[in-house]
Homo-oligomer: 256 residues x 2
Amino acid sequence: MTQDDKTGGWIAVAGLGPGNEALVTPEVTATLAEATDVVGYIPYVARVAPRDGLVLHPSDNRVELDRAQFALDLAAQGRRVVIVSSGDPGVFAMASALFEALEARPDRQATDIRILPGITAMLAAAARAGAPLGHDFCAINLSDNLKPFAEVERRLRHAAQGGFAMAFYNPRSKSRPHQFTRVLEILREECEPDRLVLFARAVTRPDEAIACVALSEATPEMADMQTVVIVGNEATRRVGRWVYTPRSVLTPAVAG
Amino acid sequence: MTQDDKTGGWIAVAGLGPGNEALVTPEVTATLAEATDVVGYIPYVARVAPRDGLVLHPSDNRVELDRAQFALDLAAQGRRVVIVSSGDPGVFAMASALFEALEARPDRQATDIRILPGITAMLAAAARAGAPLGHDFCAINLSDNLKPFAEVERRLRHAAQGGFAMAFYNPRSKSRPHQFTRVLEILREECEPDRLVLFARAVTRPDEAIACVALSEATPEMADMQTVVIVGNEATRRVGRWVYTPRSVLTPAVAG
């Protein structure tokens, strides 16, 4: 047993889901009740109710590795630490950052770690709209903070040519407004004009806004960093107010 | 307002998560408490506790459309119906089947429907193993019940060539044991031999079993219909007992 094991400290990386408290799993709620420290991006830490004996450590965006190292240090001191993520911690969130930090610190590798899944934004968005991810699909982070945009473009083309529906995280920010314009151009090169595109903003929160348009009508302004964008496959269609992707690729697409 | 609206009947398609009750959302639990009828595949209905006033309607596999039509008929009679799925209802599950049934019945299109997301198997499996889906990834249903296997092969090659991690649902069944053998062959053509492959069986249940091997060591017998298979991308690696995919494509892959 290592020194870390003896302290009784632990880290749980917990997904808080998309925003509605009714989508937080009992596992996450129970783990937060046992925590001494909560670490995370400011708006996610703000979702945790303060209580005696619980120290909240909100931090800014883009400091994921620093935050993970801080959590490892707290656990080594015997603290019970929850790192909170929105959605699911394993989807473009803090779980990978924690393992990156752990890789750099062999002396911390016996830390007691658990990853607690959550409802990720694309599946919450899909549920509100119908079942647009009802067949094979891809999840792509459109941010080029950590990868070159050429890699985004390569993945978009393979996803489209492979017949996948697609979900885009972080589609657009103030610092790179032109890139989502380029994403829509690439999609128009690869997909037919009536391909359905769903813009789901602030899903399950009071200011939720969901719009579904044909690719030919989609504009960059329809997305921001609070938005998940879902692009259907060629069979995705409307039925009443819903949008869904059939389970079968044998079923011919029917205009809704 | 249509006749359906007047009855007070509704349908909720609810995801029960991968198996552990601590992963069932409060939204799903509250909705089940209001239901008069629960419809679904036998083992999923078996997860709902019986109570007075609740009628359980378990049905066999591969009757998804019949089950959806039955739920629409019950709701039209004023019943409050929960269709239960394992995992998330929008991922290779009952939500798409319900909208297919709805498309065939214009007279039912005013039915009060909600889709309640759940923790899908690939994200529960990823959480137990670390963060193998921490970068762009695809979800692919390997069953050819509803699509030709040539389409599976096309998607596998695009996913691999696009640099995606991959999660496979329904990788193998007794009726088509040879296909997963072929999937591994395709992966070996497209990926390097030390690519990490995760076999996660019965995730979060008492008989959970998780194994991570190099692609060169993977064998078809490692998967069955209770297994989710996750294939990392070229940067996916081990750190201690964990497997994770770095957030950045700029970070060079390091042998774990």
